[in-house]
Symmetry: D2
Subunit: 101 residues, 4 copies
Amino acid sequence: MKVMIDLCVIPLGVGVSVSEYVTACQRVLEEAGLEHQLHAYGTNIEGDWDEVMSAVKRCHEVVHEMGAPRVSSSMRLGTRTDREQTIQDKIQSVETKLSAD
Amino acid sequence: MKVMIDLCVIPLGVGVSVSEYVTACQRVLEEAGLEHQLHAYGTNIEGDWDEVMSAVKRCHEVVHEMGAPRVSSSMRLGTRTDREQTIQDKIQSVETKLSAD
Amino acid sequence: MKVMIDLCVIPLGVGVSVSEYVTACQRVLEEAGLEHQLHAYGTNIEGDWDEVMSAVKRCHEVVHEMGAPRVSSSMRLGTRTDREQTIQDKIQSVETKLSAD
Amino acid sequence: MKVMIDLCVIPLGVGVSVSEYVTACQRVLEEAGLEHQLHAYGTNIEGDWDEVMSAVKRCHEVVHEMGAPRVSSSMRLGTRTDREQTIQDKIQSVETKLSAD
């Protein structure tokens, strides 16, 4: 089963700057070879369910290893059986409609 | 690694009533033997990371099997290395402070 | 327009314990006279859209006033035009189905 | 108070394709003159709290007016009192760290 998620990882107990933790998670995704796209309040990730969730777990582990005693993430998860749809497809489908005005 | 999540599963393409799908997910959690607590906009679930995520995957699969071509969930995920904390602990810690007023 | 939300407020830069901030938010909801129900990973709140959102804003303000330089919340928001549904209705509708097994 | 949010609006009871509803919400944001950035699983929006929340309400209203009897959104909301930070700043801060490897 393919899944597209949107993940935002928040380390607690380590101050207000979270960019080094977000950067570490980006590296986890690159090492996992998963398609992903950073935005200002999370990251889109797509792939096989088990591979994606394994990367999410690794993100939590890495952020703890960096010193955060607590991690709270928020995530959206989308699956569909009617057809495949990539990160690019989803953005394209809205942009096409917008430019048709 | 232990995790506490809050999961809200939304089936798309099947009408406005989602309670039968939520009910099916509750059964998945019971069969998995995971501690869980339903509320009006999601379900708290706690347990071992892999067992919890396996149940989340099973929820998506079951909702698809029931006929929903698309499923979009939102989830919070909390892990901590400083100490263990159950669903009851978290609620208790706020209620104690509230009653101390 | 009525809305039901599920709100989880996370203060950053103040350590790992967040229960005193959650408690302060519970007081905001009580002072606002809004129907609400705490769970282990957030709070269900229902009422008129503007009143509910005004309370969410007040929660952010209060948590900042208590010393958190940064606040990151996650929220689900549900509105419907087909019928009214309370926090109790939603839970009841699943529990009735579960007990019918 | 400034806020940065990440909003994902899901119409229920209207089939599996949601792109026309997402497109309508993009127009709401443009008409409101709010800085925003679409991604594959939501939209980043930044601005004054009241203006941003007013646009979120308008999105729900518009999606109902288009025929969806039920709307369920998920949203992240970030506020900070220590400094201002734009959508571009947040992405830049991670990309700078990544490219420093």
